[in-house]
Every structure is written in structure tokens, then in C-alpha cells.
């Protein structure tokens, strides 16, 4: 046998030159510095989710539309034919449908958002990306649906004799405000759920309460009590629906300011919305670095 004798390995710690350092990395963050990456990620996740909803079912989008339509149908039959509920509101069926569509958006987006961080665990634990992308992509998917469903509402409106009006231009603004509301709730709920797993049933119950506390299948003027009306309008969802009915369906629905009885009373819903958005973000931001470990 030939023996090849190598000198013993001798590289315990060859002195390495001191190196300068690059940028300090901050660890996991909620938003991060790269706004484009943030947007791209949110969009990619949202679009994928949206596509997936329609995969594997023949009727695709129709099913998506079916839920609010079914709810609308049931409510409509129950209230107008069984209970003989008489509403003198203009285009009551369309007003009802719009309420249902808007509420469905909120309940769907927040309902999915509650568990979204946990559902996307494999992403959160395996890739570095701004954490806020996850709940916001859920909101974005729901908004795509919302836009389609609102299209149906408009078709219904025109079919029932409504007309295209200039005030429809408020629609994008209303959708944005609605999106903010959903996003604020979603960030808050998703971050809370990482810590407290019973947020989900709690939120389901709260959504039920909101369904009745918000003028969805009734209109605000039926309440007939200024104080209660104002109280109800402190709910941003109620404020949005009210303004939507005024701007889109028919001007005979009082606008938000009129319904609340003055500009002063518009402050509560705005304040609640701001609080949800800011508070939701701040809480999420605080929790963001730990989400990957706490899951």
C-alpha cells in the first residue's frame, strides 16, 4: 500500500482580516422599506387566492355571487311577504341587496383574516417578507369580489328603474373607506388570533350582532329615534351603507350628514374608523417580529 502522509490539519483559526459591515437588518417587520415589494406581494397573494376560489367549480364566480344573493332572497321574502313589512324607502330591494353585499364583504374579509396568519404559517415561518402583506392580501381578495358584487347591485338598480347619476362617482371613495375598515379590523384580528385562539368564535358572534345593529335589511329612518340613530351611525359600516344608499341608489335616502343630524355627528364613525386602522396597525406592528415564533 502506498502511504500518502499529509501534514496534520492545521487550520484552527487562521487569522481572518476584520471586515467592514453592511447594513444592520431589523428582523421581521410589518411593512418594511420596499413599498413596491410590499405591493407586489400583496397583489400576488390576493390574485392567487381569488383565482383559487373559482378553480374546480364549474360555475366559478356565480357561486361567489350566490351567497349574498341567497341571503338577499331569504331576507326579501321574509320581510316583504311573510312579515308584510312595508318600507317606503325607494328601491327597497336594491337597498337591501346593497346592504347584504357590503356586509358580506366585511364578514368574509374579516372572517378569513382572523386565521390568515396561522393559515399561512408556512410562508410566515419560511420566508422573509413584510408581515402585513398577509392580512392585507385577504382584504384585497375580498375587495375584488366586492367590486364584482357591486356591479350586480348596479345592474339590479338599473333593472328596477334606477338611473345613472353623477353621485356614483362617490363609489370608489366608498369602496376605499370600506377597504380601510376591513383592513383595520383584519390586521387587528389576525395579530390577536396568533395570541388568543378564541378570537375567532368571539368575532363570529360580534359579526352576528353587527348584522342586526347595522341598517342592512332595514333603513335607518325606521328607527325613529334620533339618539339611537346617531349611536348606530357611530358604526362605520352603518355610515358607509347609509352614504352608499344616498349616493348610489336614490337621493331620497338621506346622506350621512343628514341622517346623523349634522357634521358633528359624523365625527364618531370617522373616529372609530381611524382608531381601528391606527390601532390595528400599531398592534400588528408591535407583534410582527414575534409572529413567526408564536405561531
Amino acid at each position: 500500500m502506498s502511504v500518502e502522509v499529509k501534514p496534520p490539519a492545521q487550520q484552527e483559526s487562521a487569522p481572518r482580516p476584520r471586515l467592514e459591515r453592511g447594513a444592520r437588518i431589523p428582523g421581521p417587520v410589518a411593512i418594511g422599506v420596499d413599498a413596491r415589494r410590499f405591493f407586489n406581494l400583496t397583489r400576488t397573494l390576493a390574485v392567487t387566492e381569488f383565482k383559487l376560489r373559482f378553480f374546480g367549480s364549474a360555475l366559478g364566480y356565480l357561486w361567489q355571487l350566490m351567497r349574498p344573493l341567497m341571503l338577499f332572497g331569504v331576507l326579501y321574502v321574509v320581510f316583504t311577504h311573510v312579515l308584510k313589512f312595508k318600507s317606503d324607502a325607494a328601491f327597497y330591494p336594491v337597498a337591501l341587496l346593497s346592504g347584504v353585499v357590503i356586509f358580506t364583504f366585511l364578514s368574509e374579509s374579516t372572517g378569513t383574516a382572523v386565521t390568515c396568519l396561522v393559515d399561512r404559517e408556512n410562508l410566515v415561518r419560511k420566508v422573509q417578507f413584510p408581515r402585513l402583506v398577509v392580512p392585507l392580501s385577504v382584504t384585497m381578495t375580498a375587495m375584488m369580489n366586492l367590486v364584482l358584487n357591486l356591479g350586480v347591485v348596479l345592474i339590479f338598480l338599473l333593472a328596477s328603474g334606477g338611473s345613472v347619476r353623477l353621485s356614483w362617482l362617490e363609489l370608489p371613495l366608498l369602496i376605499v373607506v370600506l377597504g380601510l375598515l376591513a383592513a383595520g379590523l383584519s390586521t387587528l384580528l389576525s395579530a390577536l388570533y396568533v395570541r388568543y385562539r378564541d378570537i375567532r368564535p368571539v368575532w363570529e358572534v360580534l359579526l352576528q350582532i353587527f348584522f342586526y345593529a347595522t341598517p342592512i335589511f332595514y333603513t335607518l329612518d325606521l328607527v325613529n329615534n334620533q339618539t339611537i340613530e346617531r349611536l348606530m351611525l357611530a358604526n362605520p359600516l352603518a355610515a358607509i351603507i347609509q352614504q352608499f344608499r344616498h349616493a348610489v341608489i336614490d337621493p331620497s335616502h338621506p346622506n350621512l350628514v343628514a341622517a346623523a343630524g349634522g357634521w358633528l355627528y359624523v365625527i364618531p364613525p370617522v373616529a372609530v374608523l381611524t382608531l381601528l386602522v391606527v390601532g390595528g396597525y400599531r398592534y400588528f406592528d408591535r407583534e410582527a417580529p414575534l409572529i413567526a415564533e408564536d405561531l
Partner: protein
């Protein structure tokens, strides 16, 4: 190794990370509401303890360590997935981490969508991801399965797709966690080629793996983790040996146990201990393939003996005897030993044993044809042979291979 800039690609500075594992996880509001002030009991698990090291630009660093030694935690800290408790991590350049292949893959979508999602997650813009799609699918050799939902892919195909995406995310610094053992042999070769290419392109790669041969093959330097500490840093081969030693343990003194069933003999001599030695003559539990080494046994004689015969046989893990040595035919015999005297029997050989675990059975016998055993201790010493290549044979004999042309091909007849 190549240092193109004086800035560290990644600098880890006294990083510590402790996980607090609650003994009872408080998961519900009710529990919090009922016991708002109860101190929650935590088990602290220190994953990283004051870890520091630098990685230069263009360096290929291997991080090795046993399960739970903190290497993956460190990778996640470097990737920005975990927050460090103390210390800092500095990064110079675009960094991509591949903790797992195919993150964000959705089984219900075809390859294209998944490449776009995965690429975007890993840091490409959607436009870049679209532009690279063709090259990704060609690299993965999945062109004909492009339209298939990936849930219908075999696991090998999935991994190929994921690896292809990873290769196309051109980060300056890559953090890679255990993804080398992928695909069939042909694809694996392709992966290795890619790693060589990354090396040649002077990319910085930090590779976390259990596969020592990969570390020795690619890495310029390696870091060994044990219980959250860097226990060794340096040349891959050396670190690799330490790693294997950690895995298989230090050589243990073999205690003498007279009632041992693995023992036979009349007791006139006793094999006290046996061990292997490396090329430096130091006791070892690990031997490198191709190096000189030795087996040794210490024998104490209870009664005087003339020219006793010392022998050893070495078995591999399948209990095939692969090597035997004896003093039986040695000219002149082994000499006379008095009662109470001790002898050390040593067999030097070049280590041609294929990588794996071996056990040695030493024996001492009276001289003579009957081979009257004085002591024989089955599998008294064990050794692990490490090596970067294995032909699959029992032995790795040194050889020269030559190919010669046997005569020139006949010139075209004219």
C-alpha cells in the same frame, strides 16, 4: 478565499436567541381573564448563545451541527424571519433565504402560477418572475408537464421546480437550508453544477446541512454548531471530522467485565483495552479514508507466556470481516512475557475501508496449532470511517486507472 470587497457579506455579531416555551400554553382570553396576574411558567430554550462570525463576499460557508444545535434558528435570524434577542446581524447586498424549497407553492395551480408566486415571495418582481419563467421551466425539465396542476407532480418534479426557481432568484447572498438531497441522480448533478457555478461567480452562499460531503465539496469554510455555540470554525474537512465525532461520540475506555458474554478465553491474559489511532498516533473515534492509521490493544498477562499470538479482526456494520491481522506467522515470535507484564499490540495499516462503522475484535492466544485462547473480546473497539466519496464497495483500494487507445483507427482507404 476570494474576498472581493472589504465589507462582510454577512456579519453576525454576538447574536443570542432564546425561545420561551410556555409549559402550559395560554391560548384563550378566558384563561388570561381569569388569571391576569398569574406568572406564566416558561421553559427557556437557548437556541443561540453569543454567536459571532463573518462571511466575506464570495465565500461559500457551510454551517453544520446536530439537530437542535441552533443552525436553522441562526439562518432564520439572518433571513429576518426571527428577531434576535441581542446582538446584531449586518448584511451587505441582496439576500435570499431558502429555508424550504417551494414556499408558497399551491397544489391546485399549474407550474406557471407557482413559479410566479414562489419567485415573488423570494424577492423577484412579478415582471422579473414572468421573464424568467421559461428558463426556470427548462432548467427543471418540466416543459411537457407545464399545464399540469402541481398536485399531480411527483415529489421529485416538485423539488426540481422549486430548485429551479431558487437558482433563478439571483441574490448576491444565498442562505440555503438542507436542500441538496433532491431529485434523481441526473438532476442532483445539475444542482451540484449550479453550486459550482455559484462558487465561480463569486456569489456568497451560506449552506446549512448535515451532508458533510457537500460541505467538503463546496465550502471554503465551515462553522460547527453545538448547543447554540460555535464550537469550531475553519477548514471544512477539519470541521467535518469534528462534526462526525460529535455525532458518534468520543472513544470510550472499554471497561473490563469478566462476566461479559462477548468474551472468551482461559484468563491467562487479559485484553485491557483496545482503540484505534489516527495518522498522528492519537486515539480516535473517526478515521479518514486513505490515511494511515492503526489498531491497538493493551494486554496484561496473568501468567507467563511464550510467544503468544496477538490477532485482530475488523468487521463492518453488516458483520462481514473485512480485515484481519495476526502475529501468528511473524518471524521470531512475539517474545516472552512474565506474569503481570503488559504489552501493547499495534497493527498499522492504510485505511482503505469504505466509509462506515467498523468494530474490531482483538484476541490473544497461546502459541501453537490449537490456538488456545487466553482472551478474546468481541467488538471491543469501534471506529467510524469518514470519506467524501464512496464507490459502494467494501474497500476503497488506491488505484490508477488508465485508458490507452488500442491502435489508431485505420485511415480512410483511398
Amino acid at each position: 478565499m476570494p474576498t472581493t470587497r472589504a465589507t462582510a457579506a454577512v456579519a453576525v455579531d454576538r447574536v443570542s436567541k432564546t425561545f420561551r416555551v410556555p409549559t402550559e400554553k395560554v391560548h384563550t382570553l378566558k384563561e388570561t381573564a381569569l388569571h391576569p396576574f398569574r406568572r406564566r411558567a416558561f421553559n427557556e430554550f437557548v437556541a443561540l448563545r453569543d454567536v459571532s462570525f463573518d462571511v466575506a463576499h464570495g465565500e461559500f460557508l457551510g454551517i453544520v451541527g446536530r439537530n437542535g444545535s441552533g443552525k436553522s434558528t441562526l439562518l432564520k435570524c439572518m433571513a429576518g424571519i426571527y428577531r434576535v434577542d441581542s446582538g446584531d446581524i449586518y448584511v451587505d447586498g441582496r439576500l435570499s433565504a431558502f429555508i424550504e424549497l417551494g414556499v408558497g407553492f399551491n397544489m391546485d395551480l399549474p407550474a406557471r402560477d407557482n413559479v410566479l408566486i414562489n419567485g415573488t415571495m423570494l424577492g423577484l418582481t412579478p415582471r422579473e418572475a414572468r421573464r424568467r419563467y421559461d428558463s426556470v421551466i427548462d432548467f427543471a425539465e418540466l416543459r411537457e408537464f407545464e399545464q399540469l396542476k402541481i398536485k399531480n407532480y411527483s415529489s421529485g418534479m416538485l423539488v426540481r421546480l422549486a430548485f429551479a426557481v431558487m437558482i433563478h432568484v439571483d441574490a448576491e447572498i444565498l442562505l440555503v437550508d438542507e436542500v441538496l438531497a433532491v431529485g434523481d441522480a441526473a438532476f442532483q448533478q445539475k444542482c451540484f453544477d449550479e453550486f459550482y457555478r455559484l462558487r465561480d461567480e463569486n456569489r456568497t452562499v451560506i449552506l446549512v446541512t448535515h451532508d458533510m460531503s457537500a460541505v467538503e465539496r463546496f465550502c471554503d469554510r465551515a462553522v460547527l454548531f453545538e448547543k447554540g455555540d460555535v464550537v469550531r470554525e475553519g477548514e471544512p474537512q477539519r470541521v467535518g471530522m469534528d462534526y462526525l465525532e460529535l455525532n458518534f461520540g468520543r472513544p470510550e475506555a472499554s471497561p473490563v467485565d469478566p462476566g461479559d458474554p462477548a468474551r472468551s478465553g482461559d484468563g491467562e491474559a487479559e485484553i485491557v483495552e483496545a482503540w484505534f489511532e489516527d495518522h498522528d498516533g492519537a486515539r480516535a473515534s473517526m478515521l479518514e479514508l486513505g490515511r494511515p492509521c492503526a489498531f491497538a490493544a493493551r494486554v496484561r498477562f496473568a501468567a507467563a507466556a511464550d510467544h503468544p499470538v496477538f490477532a485482530v479482526s475488523v468487521e463492518n456494520a453488516a458483520h462481514d470481516t473485512v480485515f484481519g491481522a495476526s502475529t501468528e506467522w511473524q518471524e521470531g515470535g512475539t517474545g516472552h512475557f512474565d506474569a503481570g507484564e503488559e504489552a501493547v499490540f499495534r497493527v498499522r495499516f492504510d485505511n482503505v475501508l469504505a466509509p462506515g462503522r467498523y468494530e474490531a475484535t482483538p484476541a490473544v492466544a497461546q502459541r501453537g496449532s490449537g490456538s488456545k485462547l487466553m482472551d478474546r473480546r468481541q467488538r471491543l473497539a469501534s471506529i467510524v470511517v469518514s470519506g467524501t466519496h464512496s464507490s459502494g464497495a467494501l474497500l476503497e483500494l488506491p488505484f490508477d486507472a488508465a485508458v490507452e487507445r488500442a491502435g489508431q483507427p485505420a485511415e480512410a482507404e483511398s
